[in-house]
């Protein structure tokens, strides 16, 4: 009886697994197959070549306002990817600088505020992206801020918007990391050894949250690189990768499929890279556990 039930349970588990795997893999395989058929009657990488090498000199990445003095003449795939990577990197930097010390302080000094923090950090889930975008535009595109009048101001607005959008992922990741280590005792140990707050955060807290911060960075990168709404409204010249993807999707036939596969591979390479870096001293977080 027990054996039969066990077999049925295992069979059911396998069926679920196969169904989920098929749900994820079949579209990718069909996309990949479709992306290889750009030339009638041939299987080849023409669509990929079109995406990666078409020179479009009129579409260049031009961010000429301080602090960026970059003028590159690249195929749009690269220029948009580069622009979005830059925005993603800035978002990672800003959100890390804001979220890690905040979450640390809440854990250490005001743990009662943790539910409040959790509520605020999930708000971006509840507020649709388009509402956030219009809210930001309405507030910051006119006096007294008028941030969209300058390139730098628009970049700041974009990075700010991304920082809010990724907050649920960043905060949660850091929160989990903080729960895994005894930050109170580590902080007190560092304090008793003469460390001030900056030294504690930079030399004790950040290194011990490395895996959590890397996970948050990966999620931030994946979201920022493909984000469309905010990027398209703030940079209507389709400068961001998300806008470029949408544009290609609207105007080409086989290239969108190729772009999907390229984006997918890019993200997976990043995942593997982060996992590898994280595994390097993965033990660091284990030994700090409560």
């Amino acid at each position: 009886m027990i054996g039969k039930r066990s077999f049925a349970t295992r069979l059911f588990a396998w069926l679920i697994f196969i169904f989920c795997a098929a749900y994820l893999i079949v579209p990718l395989v069909t996309q990949f197959d479709y992306s290889l058929r750009a030339r009638r009657g041939e299987i080849g990488f023409t669509a990929y070549a079109n995406v990666l090498s078409i020179p479009e000199p009129d579409k260049v990445l031009q961010v000429q306002t301080a602090p960026f003095k970059i003028t590159l003449n690249l195929p749009r795939f690269y220029s948009s990817l580069l622009f979005s990577c830059l925005m993603a990197a800035l978002t990672i930097l800003v959100s890390t600088i804001i979220i890690v010390p905040t979450a640390y302080w809440v854990h250490l000094r005001v743990p009662k505020l943790r539910p409040v923090m959790e509520f605020f950090t999930v708000l971006p889930f509840a507020i649709p992206g388009i509402v956030l975008t219009f809210g930001l535009l309405r507030t910051y595109s006119g006096p007294p801020f008028s941030m969209t009048n300058t390139e730098l101001g628009t970049v700041v607005l974009l990075v700010g918007g991304y920082t809010i959008a990724v907050m649920p992922y960043t905060y949660r990741s850091v929160d989990v990391g903080l729960r895994a280590i005894d930050i109170r005792t580590l902080t007190e140990a560092a304090r008793s050894l003469g460390a001030g707050w900056p030294a504690i955060i930079l030399q004790v807290i950040f290194p011990n949250l490395r895996v959590a911060i890397l996970s948050a960075a990966l999620l931030t990168f994946a979201i920022a690189i493909g984000e469309y709404t905010l990027a398209n409204f703030l940079f209507p010249d389709e400068r961001a990768f998300g806008s470029y993807l949408a544009s290609v999707g609207n105007n080409k036939i086989f290239e969108p499929a190729a772009l999907t596969i390229i984006s997918f591979v890019l993200v997976w390479v990043l995942v593997l890279l982060i996992q590898r870096v994280g595994r390097g001293t993965g033990q660091t977080q284990m030994t700090g556990m409560r």
Binding site: I181, L186, E188, R191, L193, G194, T287
Partner: protein
């Protein structure tokens, strides 16, 4: 003027008084233990000395300097925690060097000091290991070295052996005492383990409900407890209920017991409780002038070096400890034995 002065410390958390009227002078190089049950305020007092808790009232002076309002990172105290609190991202050497780097010492001095500390804790060659590659005892040794590396004015240890198994605990206990005496460092040690406190300390502060019950050397604390709480908390104590008899005697189960200090405020027939340490009761011989009680053996527990015998006199139970002697068979349950103890061994506690 004492090296460490705690003057009328008081700490209140909301409506709970954690520490009340705590005053203590500690001399330079002295090893003082705070001993008491959980929640008695010993760790809170230690944390006030460290600067992690601000006293509600009172002052803390170290070497003549009032440090009550000085932040913990400016007090130059070393602290060892129960959970080791080694920085997991750093090697053993980096952990030991952390405080020295914070003090901005030159690199060659830091390296030299780290080597000295590793030698002190008898772990040379462990500098490049990470904390997860060490046993609990080794981690605590490193934590001790890290706290000592900065040459602290006072070393604070918050139940440092509680997380270790018995054998390692004994080893490390001796190690802590050796290092403390070698460096002649003023040390405050928090523990709820009476054996630790008795074996390590120059003086013990027994605490209960936020207050000091008694301060004194281990011998005095154990042998001359001033309150019933101290008597019960430090060591094993048997209490026997009886009545006051004539001539200052106490009648236990109808048998007279003479005391060195008879109950002065009791009238004949009043209820009296006396306390006895198990090791003061002899099972096999009756010395002249000692009290004798005929008791029933309720049970015998073999503890290795000691044989603990549970006895009863007309329903009043107590225990007697005898050193294990291979040539002497302990009594069996149900037997009637005569036990004896000196008049000085029994104290009136109620």
């Amino acid at each position: 003027m004492a090296y460490l002065e705690l003057n009328h410390l008081r700490k209140v958390f909301g409506v709970t008084v954690a520490v009340e009227s705590f005053s203590l002078d500690v001399e330079r190089g002295e090893f003082v233990s705070f001993l008491g049950p959980s929640g008695c305020g010993k760790t809170t007092t230690l944390r006030m000395i460290a600067g992690f808790e601000q006293p509600t009232e009172g002052t803390i002076c170290i070497d003549g300097e009032d440090v009550t309002n000085v932040p913990p990172n400016k007090r130059k105290l070393g602290m060892v925690f129960q959970s080791y609190a080694l920085f997991p991202n750093m090697t053993v050497a980096d952990n030991i060097a952390f405080g020295l780097r914070m003090a901005k010492l030159p690199g060659h001095l830091i390296r030299q000091r780290v080597e000295e500390m590793l030698a002190l804790i008898q772990m040379p060659g462990y500098g490049n290991r990470y904390s997860h590659q060490l046993s609990g005892g080794q981690q605590q040794r490193v934590a001790l070295a890290r706290a000592l590396a900065i040459q602290p004015r006072v070393l604070l240890l918050d139940e440092p052996l509680s997380a270790l198994d018995a054998k390692i605990r004994d080893e490390l206990r001796s190690e802590i005492r050796r290092i403390q005496q070698e460096l002649h460092i003023t040390t405050i040690y928090v523990t709820h383990d009476q054996e630790e406190a008795l074996s390590l300390s120059d003086r013990i502060v027994v605490m209960n409900a936020g207050r000091i019950e008694q301060v004194g050397p281990p011998f005095e604390i154990y042998n001359r407890p001033r309150t019933e709480f101290v008597a019960r908390f430090v060591g094993t104590l048997s209490t026997l209920h009886g009545t006051a008899g004539a001539d200052g005697c106490v009648m236990i189960g109808g048998q007279p017991v003479r005391l060195a200090q008879p109950p002065a405020d009791k009238l004949p027939g009043d209820a009296v409780t006396i306390a006895l340490r198990p090791e003061t009761i002899a099972l096999d011989e009756v010395a002249p002038g000692h009290n004798r009680l005929t008791a029933q053996v309720e049970g015998v527990t073999f503890l290795g070096a000691i044989v603990r015998v549970q006895l009863s006199v007309n329903g009043a139970t107590f225990v007697a400890d005898a050193l294990n002697n291979p040539n002497f068979s302990p009594p069996r349950a149900g037997e009637t034995v005569t036990v004896s103890f000196s008049p000085e061994a029994a104290r009136v506690v109620g």
